[in-house]
């Protein structure tokens, strides 16, 4: 390969920390190629940059670089009051802002010992599970897109639009809801909310079956994803992977069941675990399929929660000038992408001293580098897609 930007190569290698000898072999006479995948690559799902060292189509090494979407979420957290931080949590993992809002609200509620009304808990569960479905739909659709199937993408987006319509009706927003707030929810559900939800959930399962027929069980799709990038359970735990990725590796772990926060212990549903049906355990197909199956379970939870909404207030009385007691608190919640945890240190004033956001995508992404060894570029796209990264949360 003659001179594909040798100067550019130098810079990349320096920041990579490659040894000098290695750089020399790469610059002259080596058959290897250094390629930037991203930050504007279509299948890195945002502004993730991966530097690939490839031999032909085979990847020798893939080094992720991020921070292109770093918006100082933690620094901002130290400078705004607790409730005012909610709109910022919307924008962490912008595909599941309800869940983010909820995790933040629960963290502060735990810190301050606020009791949330039952009605609010039910509403929270419903909207969060709807948002989880929406988020998984995006993953399923874009994953098809990564592997060259266009139609599932728009079909899943059609379903997602319906969820967004429902959520828009109660919160007023379509992507960043800011609906779940400390002490409850912003506003009560609308009179038509329950009927719309039920109508949606009723027809939704059949739509999901169609997506399964179109994509999940397609032989080409299975060939592309099964046995690709298997992640063992031990490795997943050690690397701090959580959520669907951990479950796909065969670890039967879901916070909603194992650490039932809110009212999740009242519902009857199953945790979906990867079984390695089509290939090795914890391969890309498992990671994909765990999400698809989770969507069916979300429907179950939603339906049960819709049945049980009690009457009552939808928001606890939280003082306007809210000051939680001094202390520290760590709380995690099961988000569509894994366990989102907030670590808050309070000194008793209006603003937190420290807000740490432990984003699930961040920890999940750290596995990619190891998984990518000796993998084809096409497989790598499949693997990165299966991690369902949202860069807003990785970079914060």
């Amino acid at each position: 390969m003659t001179g594909v930007g040798e100067e550019a190569m130098d810079v990349d290698l320096k920041s990579l920390g490659f040894r000098v000898e290695e750089r020399r072999t790469l610059a002259s006479g080596s058959d290897e190629l250094l390629i930037n995948m991203g930050p504007q690559h279509p299948s890195t799902h945002g502004v993730l940059r991966l530097l690939l060292r490839t031999d032909g189509e085979e990847i020798q090494e893939a080094v992720p670089f991020m921070g292109y979407l770093h918006r100082c979420a933690e620094k901002i957290g130290e400078n705004v009051p607790y409730d005012t931080y909610t709109p910022y949590t919307d924008r962490l993992d912008y595909l599941s802002s309800m869940n983010n809002n909820w995790a933040w609200a629960m963290t502060v509620e735990k810190l301050a010992g606020i009791e949330v009304p039952q009605r609010a808990e039910y509403i929270r569960v419903i909207v969060a599970e709807l948002n989880r479905i929406a988020s998984h739909l995006v993953m399923v659709g874009t994953y098809g897109l990564d592997l060259g199937a266009f139609t599932p993408f728009l079909l899943t987006f059609r379903e997602r639009e319906e969820i967004l319509d429902i959520l828009e009706e109660i919160s007023g927003g379509r992507l960043c809801y800011g609906y779940i707030r400390i002490g409850g929810v912003t506003d009560d559900i609308t009179p038509t909310f329950a009927t719309k939800c039920r109508a949606f959930l009723r027809q939704y399962v059949s739509k999901l079956d169609a997506i399964n027929e179109l994509l999940s069980y397609n032989r080409i799709f299975i060939r592309r994803t099964a046995n690709v990038g298997p992640l063992s359970a031990e490795k997943a735990i050690a690397c701090g992977c959580t959520g669907p990725i951990l479950r796909a590796s065969g670890v039967d772990w879901d916070l909603r069941r194992d650490e039932p926060y809110s009212i999740y212990d009242k519902f009857d549903w199953n945790v979906c675990v990867g079984k390695g049906e089509k290939g090795q355990l914890g391969d890309t197909w498992d990671r994909y399929m765990v999400r698809v199956r989770e969507m069916y379970e979300c429907v179950k939870i939603c339906e049960q929660a819709l049945e049980g909404i009690p009457e009552g207030p939808f928001r606890a009385k939280v003082p306007r000038n809210f000051k939680p007691p001094a202390g520290e608190c760590y709380f995690r919640a099961e988000n569509p992408r894994g366990e989102l945890a907030f670590y808050v240190v309070s000194d008793g004033s209006k603003r937190p001293v420290r807000v740490k956001v432990r984003g699930p995508s961040f920890c999940n992404l750290s596995v990619v580098q190891e998984l990518s060894r000796n993998m084809l570029v096409s497989d790598f796209v499949a693997v990165v897609g299966s991690f369902d990264l949202v860069m807003g949360e990785v970079d914060r």
């Binding site: 919307d90 139609t151 007023g172 027929e213 397609n218 939280v318």
Partner: protein, 159 residues
């Protein structure tokens, strides 16, 4: 050999199933709207652009203090009940449509309008001073101007 045949068979049958789905979609109606011509009916709680009605505003600065991004600038004049804004500017470049300001407003003068078309011809229009450029009253828009988001059932515990 058997494997290959099975593979081929599965490949063909699953592809045909997929083709059945796409064919069904081909004859089912589309779900898109031709936007400028057709419009969705927006929900009542839609969070459009934040606007302020200076005739009701008392320049209490509650919204300025609660705004997480600091997009509101307010200067008031007078004391007590006489207090009125002389400048109330919202910077839409910063606004994050969170509706926190509408909840704290004691007079319900600031609210999320139904205007969701946030395209402007130049940047200066993105900062709107509602004192010099007040919102035109909408006749059919009574409800939104009187009931902002998040009024708890038990009276006004504004937060």
């Amino acid at each position: 050999m058997v494997n290959i045949l099975q593979e081929v068979f599965e490949g063909i049958t699953t592809s045909l199933k997929g083709m059945k789905v796409t064919l069904r979609e081909l004859f089912s109606p589309g779900c898109t709207l031709q936007y400028p011509d057709e419009r969705r009916i927006m929900p009542e709680r839609l969070r459009g652009m934040v606007v302020n009605d200076p005739s009701r505003c008392i320049a209490c600065n509650a919204c300025v203090n609660v705004c997480p991004v600091g997009c509101i600038e307010c200067e008031g004049e007078g004391k007590g009940k006489e207090r009125r804004p002389i400048r109330f500017a919202i910077d839409y470049r910063k606004c994050c449509w969170c509706a926190l300001c509408t909840e704290v407003c004691p007079t319900e003068s600031i609210f999320m309008s139904e205007d969701y078309e946030t395209v402007f011809q130049d940047r200066t229009q993105l900062i709107r001073d509602f004192c010099s450029n007040p919102i035109p009253p909408k006749p059919g828009d009574k409800k939104r101007t009187t009931k902002p988001l998040g009024v708890p059932l038990s009276g006004r515990v504004a937060f």
